[in-house]
């Protein structure tokens, strides 16, 4: 009785956690470089609409995902032009990006409302399908994007903590002046981080529309972009912790769906609140210690050497 319930919950957590994870990894890279993109919601929407429309037009989901990644990357480069090159206020620029994403995705997606698509092929190793409990759920019956989610987290961790590039990105996020003194170019590193983050954000959005919902509707991300910003804090800017964070929040969503399906007496709206309140509670529990792990230069504008 409880085993299938838990496995079902886990399966649901992975389903909705995957796109959260990709977006969290992207935003982690961006924030590690000292930039906070409050407009992530817009990036996700652009990714979702571009991914869906390209899939619907070409009939090839992988093309849709690639296009979404590129669109996300481009959108973040535009954001970078504002906050890095033009040194504009990051929060206001982020909100502007959010509005841009609302509008652009509505425009891109409008012709495809109600379109039917074929998502990415799913694949489950046959030896895993043998287990009865597994068979009853979607566990391990995943598309490529889902299969690559955890390897991607490891890749991002490796890139940030074990490469010359990642060291530069983290240095810029902590202190652009020191990175500059070390001969790194803070602007270029921030653009690179933003591009990577944008590609991951675009993929995350497309995963929502192309493989999870298989439809397009306006504002379909429903605040996930903001949840992700909370998740990045929750995971203390660490790509590996982001896996746990995304699973936890995906799990909260899955739990909510399951309880709804079982006709639970708890109102769905109260359940829907739980991730937001949970995030707040966790931030509260950390209190002061959180500050030690936030990139010191986050949100600040670097004006060069003098």
């Amino acid at each position: 009785m409880t085993a299938p319930l838990i496995l079902g919950l886990l399966a649901g957590a992975i389903l909705s956690g995957t796109s959260l994870l990709y977006a969290t990894l992207g935003e982690t890279i961006v924030e590690r470089s000292g930039i906070v993109n409050l407009g992530l919601e817009g990036i996700l929407l652009i990714g979702a609409s571009v991914g869906f429309s390209v899939t619907a037009t070409t009939g090839k989901a992988w093309l849709g995902l690639m296009a979404a990644g590129m669109a996300g990357g481009l959108a973040n480069v535009l954001f970078g032009w504002l906050v890095v090159t033009r040194k504009a206020n990051q929060l206001a620029s982020g909100l502007a990006m959010m509005f841009f994403g609302f509008g652009a995705s509505a425009l891109i997606g409008a012709p495809y409302v109600g379109a039917v698509i074929v998502g990415l092929p799913k694949w489950r190793p046959s030896w895993l399908a043998g287990f009865r409990w597994v068979k009853a759920t979607t566990l391990f019956n995943w598309d490529l994007v889902t299969w690559l989610a955890i390897p991607m987290a490891i890749l991002v961790w490796w890139a940030l903590f074990r490469t010359r590039w990642g060291l530069g990105v983290r240095a810029v996020g902590e202190s652009p002046a020191v990175a500059f003194a070390a001969g790194r170019n803070p602007a270029i590193l921030q653009y690179q981080a933003l591009s990577c983050g944008g590609v991951l954000g675009g993929l995350a959005g497309a995963h929502l529309s192309v493989t999870l919902a298989m439809t397009w509707s306006e504002y379909m991300t429903a605040g996930r972009g903001f949840i992700v910003i909370a998740l990045v804090i929750f995971s203390k800017w660490n790509p590996l912790r982001a896996v746990a964070a995304a699973l936890l929040f995906g799990g909260a969503e899955a739990l909510q769906l399951q309880m709804q399906a079982r006709g639970s007496v708890i109102s769905p709206f109260l359940l829907e609140m739980s991730p937001y309140i949970l995030t707040l509670m966790i931030l509260l529990a950390w209190g002061g210690s959180r500050r030690l792990s936030a990139p010191a230069g986050l949100g600040r504008t670097f004006y060069g050497s003098e």
Binding site: R86, G103, A106, I233, S267, Y276, L280, G287, Y303
Partner: protein, 349 residues
């Protein structure tokens, strides 16, 4: 005196330059948006003509602009007031919803009360709703526990769900309409409207709030304290200004104004509590306050501009069959140009 004449000329020329610059920004944004509409196979020229026709060139349309401005003004003050302390309130949306929710609770609590009791009571409840919703991040920030930007942002998503819970649940309209909304408020709780339009007393409240904002900041010692905290919180604290108290107060009062915006939408426009109370007035308020640099007059102008843009969204949807949300592109274009053209290290913090 000749010098005075000269400065007057200089001043008017900077004003001219400013106006020219604003027009340039607006024009460029309109052209970029037109290009996007063209690519999407729409007729931008007709869209702009229609918008002009339905808003500025027509009394009813103009009154609608004022109606739209009402919540925007309040939401902008809700951001601008804490901003003077260096606090970033991106939670106007949630505070607005909580204001509407608490005001509705007030109206349903005293259904039989006469208007002269009920209206002030409902307004107070609306203010309190927003104030409480903003005081929570305020307390967390004052205790150095959670950054107020994150906390206000997260609470944005909770408040509409509370409204949804009541709209779908305890307060659901008896007539069982397909539209999720509460039953109508008692007549005594409705804000009076003027000139046979939808302009309601909320506009007066909004203007009064704006005036109060200006007076407090410019004319009282509280304004000095608040600006000191915004300028250098560490020094302010060391000089004995009770910074934590101010943080909570400023956020709460700001949130209260956003709550009044929600109250106005519920009591002045809809006549009931609805799930889709606000199309993002809270976020628009942030941008208005930011674009206006916190100046009271600037807030009025920017709110007016935003009202026109949102009206354009309606027009587009009606006449061109473009989703309403598409107008956000125009908004974003304006913001992009302003953000990019402000000199580095300008008015932003």
């Amino acid at each position: 005196m000749p010098e005075r004449g000269l400065t007057a000329v200089l001043r008017s020329s900077t004003a001219l330059r400013k106006t020219a610059r604003s027009c340039g920004i607006g024009g460029a944004a309109l052209m970029m948006f037109a290009a996007i509409l063209l690519v999407a196979g729409k007729d931008p020229l007709r869209a702009y003509m229609d918008t002009f026709h339905y808003t500025l060139a027509n009394t009813y349309g103009f009154s609608e602009l004022l109606v739209r401005m009402t919540p925007l003004l309040l939401a902008a003050v809700a951001v601008a007031l804490p901003a003077r302390l260096g606090l970033i309130n991106v939670g106007g949306e949630g505070q607005l919803y909580m204001g509407a929710f608490m005001a509705s609770a007030g109206a349903f609590l005293l259904p039989k009360a006469p208007g002269w009791i009920l209206l002030p009571f409902v307004a107070l409840m609306g203010f309190l709703g927003g104030a409480i919703w903003a005081a929570i991040p305020g307390i967390l920030r004052a205790g150095k526990l959670v950054n107020e930007t994150v906390a206000t942002l997260l609470l944005n998503y909770v408040a509409p769900l509370i409204v949804s819970y009541f709209v779908f649940g305890p307060w659901r309209a008896a007539e069982n309409s397909a539209y999720p909304q509460s039953s109508p408020f008692p007549d005594a709780a409705l804000l009076p409207s003027f000139f046979n339009t939808r302009i309601h007393a909320g506009l007066l409240i909004a203007l009064a709030a704006l005036l109060a904002y200006w007076l407090i900041l410019e004319k009282t010692r509280w304004g000095v304290d608040m600006r000191a905290i915004g300028g250098n919180a560490e020094a302010a604290q060391r000089l004995g200004i009770p910074v934590p108290t101010w943080i909570v107060t400023a956020l709460a009062v700001g949130g209260g104004f956003a709550g009044l915006a929600g109250m106005g939408e519920a009591m002045g426009i809809a006549g009931r509590l609805r799930q889709d109370l606000s199309p993002g007035y809270g976020f628009s308020g942030f941008l208005i306050a930011w674009l206006a640099g916190g100046r009271a007059l600037g807030i009025v102008l920017m709110a007016f501009l935003f009202a026109i843009i949102t009206s354009a969204g309606d027009t587009l949807q009606m006449t061109q069959g473009v989703p309403y949300a598409v107008v956000n592109i125009l908004l974003a274009m304006i913001l992009f140009i302003v953000l990019a053209s402000r000199s580095a290290g300008g008015t932003s913090k």
